[in-house]
Symmetry: D2
Subunit: 336 residues, 4 copies
Amino acid sequence: MKVGVIGCGYWGPNLVRNFNALDNVDVAAVCDIRPERLEFISRLYPTIRTLTADANDILHSGDIDAVVIATPVSMHFPLGLEALSSGKHIFVEKPFTATVEQAQRLNELAQIKNLHIMVDHTFIYTGAVQTVKRIIDGGELGDLYYFDSVRVNLGLFQHDVNVIWDLAPHDVSIMDYLLGRRPRAIAATGVAHFEPNIENIAYISAYYDNNLLGHIHVNWLAPVKVRKTLISGSKKMIVYDDMEPSEKIKIYDRGVDIVEDKDQIYNILVQYRTGDMLAPHIDLTEALKKATREFYDAVNEDRPALTDGVAGLQVVKILEASNNSMRTGGKVIELD
Amino acid sequence: MKVGVIGCGYWGPNLVRNFNALDNVDVAAVCDIRPERLEFISRLYPTIRTLTADANDILHSGDIDAVVIATPVSMHFPLGLEALSSGKHIFVEKPFTATVEQAQRLNELAQIKNLHIMVDHTFIYTGAVQTVKRIIDGGELGDLYYFDSVRVNLGLFQHDVNVIWDLAPHDVSIMDYLLGRRPRAIAATGVAHFEPNIENIAYISAYYDNNLLGHIHVNWLAPVKVRKTLISGSKKMIVYDDMEPSEKIKIYDRGVDIVEDKDQIYNILVQYRTGDMLAPHIDLTEALKKATREFYDAVNEDRPALTDGVAGLQVVKILEASNNSMRTGGKVIELD
Amino acid sequence: MKVGVIGCGYWGPNLVRNFNALDNVDVAAVCDIRPERLEFISRLYPTIRTLTADANDILHSGDIDAVVIATPVSMHFPLGLEALSSGKHIFVEKPFTATVEQAQRLNELAQIKNLHIMVDHTFIYTGAVQTVKRIIDGGELGDLYYFDSVRVNLGLFQHDVNVIWDLAPHDVSIMDYLLGRRPRAIAATGVAHFEPNIENIAYISAYYDNNLLGHIHVNWLAPVKVRKTLISGSKKMIVYDDMEPSEKIKIYDRGVDIVEDKDQIYNILVQYRTGDMLAPHIDLTEALKKATREFYDAVNEDRPALTDGVAGLQVVKILEASNNSMRTGGKVIELD
Amino acid sequence: MKVGVIGCGYWGPNLVRNFNALDNVDVAAVCDIRPERLEFISRLYPTIRTLTADANDILHSGDIDAVVIATPVSMHFPLGLEALSSGKHIFVEKPFTATVEQAQRLNELAQIKNLHIMVDHTFIYTGAVQTVKRIIDGGELGDLYYFDSVRVNLGLFQHDVNVIWDLAPHDVSIMDYLLGRRPRAIAATGVAHFEPNIENIAYISAYYDNNLLGHIHVNWLAPVKVRKTLISGSKKMIVYDDMEPSEKIKIYDRGVDIVEDKDQIYNILVQYRTGDMLAPHIDLTEALKKATREFYDAVNEDRPALTDGVAGLQVVKILEASNNSMRTGGKVIELD
């Protein structure tokens, strides 16, 4: 598979390095409008043949099988459209697109053209998230009660997107993947302290059926870095703390047992369980290594990638609804 | 001052001990409908003259100057009304009352009768909150951006009130006191996983003028205990972690400087500041000691207590609005 | 069993409370030379019949079966001697005695008189230490490699004993109990920064057979409180952190596998194992409750207590050797 | 300055990168006996002219001004000797040499030949250590009481050196630099659990004048990674925790005030101070960048480097004495 990478900013070199390290994959071309980025890549990977400021050199090259789109999100749609139209698979940075409609159009086109789309929700490929997924799918948590995620720090301000579009794709994609179901409605709150419409703090609530509640706090303006997710079920609870160097996942055998009091019909007895805590060994392989391999395998085996365009669309739906809710003063927005 | 205490459950003995320890104050009577609680108090404080199951023995005693109401919240209003009517000052556990209307009626009656009401928002009297108050009032934080508070653990389930009425009075009273202004509107989300209308997890958003945002997460069902508040301003930020044994307050000289880029009118430059962190020495005196002293002093000096009925009403307004918003699916509720 | 308590300082009220709470046990008398301590006890426990400044009222009372000695360590021996001579069992605060010889004489006398001695090494009765003991005795750790304990904070300076005699009894008794064997030799280092011969920082090394090494750091002059013990074996390792509110014990499935390289006889291959970490649920019952119960049971069943005079002597041997080594510039002192 | 690097294992590429990044410095040659290491360097730095398996190509090259020696420690002396003899400055990895005598001979030769030696005690160049140095030299801590350092983890076992020669150079060089004085005597304890004479756990005590005590715990076999140093003085205390991502240095305004009790001549009163804690902002520039710059500047300005051969010798003296003490069962070894 010959890969062309469009956009080589902060994340681009990681993409080039990981795609290059795959057997049977070759990064043949890199595009960026900034000459110094191309020069930087050229020094690290002198074997890359094409270094160009013109995306068309990649989009319409007969030599390229798949296009990696690592530009600002506003360009994901036009570049993706062109790449698919030219018969190329695409690997798109998160978030997939800037609107639900764009994501749907790309997915439709890919289906028509029999091409593959993968969205780079890298966290899905971490050992930590994979471990939690196994635990949840194995039923260890029991009925799911809530998913609460906090992602805050003194972060890079973006000028083109707000904190929902910048940070929440991580939490939303993890929530969507782990819970394995779709929220019924979304509400969000946020404030832009510096630049109009560039909200730097936001809270998102996701309402699921069966009393399952999701909540996400994203924030560019906090004094300390927090990456912490609580996932609670009727049997066990999980704390996923990505700031921990190795014990990222802690499974607590804690919970509440509800017993109906036979004598007093109106009363219920609540009994607490406090048992062991287990921090399972986590595979710390670089997630992007697994993500790029998944893209190659999905194309090769002609099957949907774990984070395919449908998964990417689902994330964009929640982000768009969150953004709309936030802009309308916290109105609850029903999905579908 | 002769004090009568009505209700002697979990918190009651602390109230008796602290009132008894004050100069010029004497706990003359204690009431509880459970004989074993009276016996327990009697053993600890053999000098208390009246131990009774009938609140009227306190409410209408000619010997009592002030009544401490430490019953379930549903009784705060009738007992407070009776006590004030009998010419007694009242010291009421949090939350002040079960409704805004009740709080208003008690405040009006106290004013008419020239009596004092104090609500036991104990946290306001901690060294930690007093330290943060001094920092904020001194202008050290600059313009206030947000107040974010998390209070979760595997907690005692209440059968009479939900988690908003049980835990959020702490956060709401701290928020109200520290920010020193009133929110414009409230929205809340919550779920009852065990008992109808006894929500065990809730998120509250408080909208203030000037883009100041408050947010509170209260939760009875978490595997770990968290008591953490972030307060962010344009100049500095504070982390108040009540689980820390001594370094409860950390002041971060961190933030963002916004510089307008002269050449590119549409651009702004964001510059990060990362300076020292200071954990000031915190007075660890028992807060209830200071709270009971404040009540005595307020009565004695005939001045409003720091957490008087007006402050207590303000907390109930936010709790009631939160509850109403939660019960109407997260609708934003404008205050006054 | 009728108990008399001699010495009612910091720890005394806890002893009175726990002995009083036992079925079949009655604290009949308390002695302290400070009238205010007696008054304090009298108010808390109005039923105690004898409150006296004269220890003889307890030592020679016909009414007393067992004497609790909670005085400064210098008085343990004369009071213990007198109590045993008068036919009373003794429960002695840690450290057992000020010298090995004293401990031996008390043990001999108890044996002759058929009386019981228990030393209050309270930590042995914590859920944490009991859990570690079960793990070690179950062979989970494999061969034991080392025991490393740190107990430091800005602590109370003692005027009568140094930090070895004040803090190290905890670590030494835990080490002795958990390892279940006797060290071959002891060396120690320490410095007195304030008062001659009152060392405020000390390091103790304990040499066991089979390459097992013990090490203890005790320190009254540290800015932060640390209570942390590492116990390492060939199969697993334990971190016991007593500052953790609930997860005090963490068992790491980590270690080193040594494989001899067949081809290169002089080489060995080291392979690291990094597996799960388990924090077992710990019984948080007050340790002193279990300790006082153990004393009663041991006397009642006429069997040695878990921390009897022999265990107490063993701790004093290590403390005395440590002190001697420290005073002779760190000389290694062989035991027995 | 033209630099040749001998030895290109784990640390070598960092050395090449940092020397290459300096103005006026050029890495002209790299030597390693493993072809795959040379190939790795060649791909990263295609401009390096000489890649050789023969150190003589560097040691006797007319083109090379300075030799970087990054081989196993046993080769430091012969390579250093040859390089100095050939008129080249040397930059040697830690520890400087395998014996005190070797270090002395290199220093003598450098003096005779008017050449510069620098030892790569990288930690000295971290913002954290520089910050502590400023605080200590400014007198903020008052009289120094002790230096206690713990450096443990499940580490790489070395086959050629034990844990004292592998890890303790860090702690010893930091201790030596920060305290600014020489210990009077050394004692050490350690055990080899796997390979004879390759001790994997060791404790070092360093005795200074004026009751200043140093202590170091190094350990390859611990379940958790700890890098923590306590430095205590009469006025303030410091915790230096290198595992903290940003708040590595915490200065505690805590301590003990000793007041002589006028009335009771034999008594002293101890008063505790518990004040603020300050975590100063730390410069997080890569330390090796500053170290390589220091080497260049020292040569250029013909002045001793901050960690010159004399500093390197001082570290080797303590390591050698520690090793000798450990091998003789903990005997105290007087220095000089």
